[in-house]
């Protein structure tokens, strides 16, 4: 595409990546979560594919496949963590370990990143899955019908 589009893409790329990572990482504190942040990040992949062409991103196809599988497996394994009580039991919440701190106070509070048990991990798993899934859909569509696809 034109040099204007390429320059604007280079400018907004880090900002949008940071926003997507923020939405995924703070899914248990602020609005958003794995799916929303993954959609934001996957829209960056779509922007790159539209602006620079899919052929230059062809090497990412295998990575996307691996990330999709890792996300799906991590999600199911995190759900199996609580199988002692029931599927999807949040065993890490309030346990004092990883992400195990209680909320600072009930009611409105600024929140701490180290809370909510398995929720942040599941957010990351679903986020990886959504980034890889939607990104590979866009990439495959752009590579369709090419000789080098």
């Amino acid at each position: 595409m034109s040099v204007v589009v390429r320059t604007v893409t280079r400018v907004i790329l880090p900002v949008a990546l940071a926003f997507g990572a923020y939405v995924i990482m703070h899914g248990h504190l602020t609005p958003g979560g794995g799916f929303q942040g993954g959609a934001v990040t996957a829209s960056i992949v779509a922007l790159l594919v539209v602006v620079y062409g899919g052929a230059r991103l062809k090497g990412a196809k295998g990575w996307f496949a691996v990330l999709e599988d890792v996300g799906a497996l991590a999600f199911v394994l995190l759900a199996f963590l609580g199988i002692g009580a029931t599927f999807f039991r949040n065993v890490l919440a309030g346990s004092g370990g990883l992400f195990g701190a209680p909320v600072p106070q009930l009611g409105p509070n600024p929140g701490a990143l180290d809370t909510a048990g398995t929720l942040p991990l599941m957010n990351w798993a679903v986020g990886l899955k959504v980034i890889a899934g939607l990104g590979s859909v866009v990439l495959l569509l752009s590579l369709f019908g090419r000789e080098d696809g």
Partner: protein
């Protein structure tokens, strides 16, 4: 507050109508993305920020990108 809702929803309807009305498919996709973005603003006004972020990411960016990629592979004008 009600006036803001009415304005946003009217703009959504106008964007959707423009998306149907345009003969140039690229302009049609841009109008659809604009309608989607305004719809996400309406979700935000209805105090559903989660849905608003998802709508902005999926509806305004990803769908438009997929349509643009599809238009590139086919004809850019609507046929009679």
């Amino acid at each position: 507050m009600t006036a803001l809702h009415v304005l946003t929803l009217s703009l959504v309807v106008i964007g959707a109508a423009l998306a149907i009305w345009f003969r140039d498919l690229l302009a049609s996709v841009i109008a659809l993305a604009g309608a989607s973005l305004l719809l996400s603003l309406e979700f935000y006004l209805l105090q559903a920020p989660d849905v608003a972020i998802a709508e902005a990411g999926i509806g305004a960016a990803l769908t438009a990108a997929i349509y643009i990629l599809a238009i590139r592979k086919t004809r850019p004008k609507e046929e009679e």
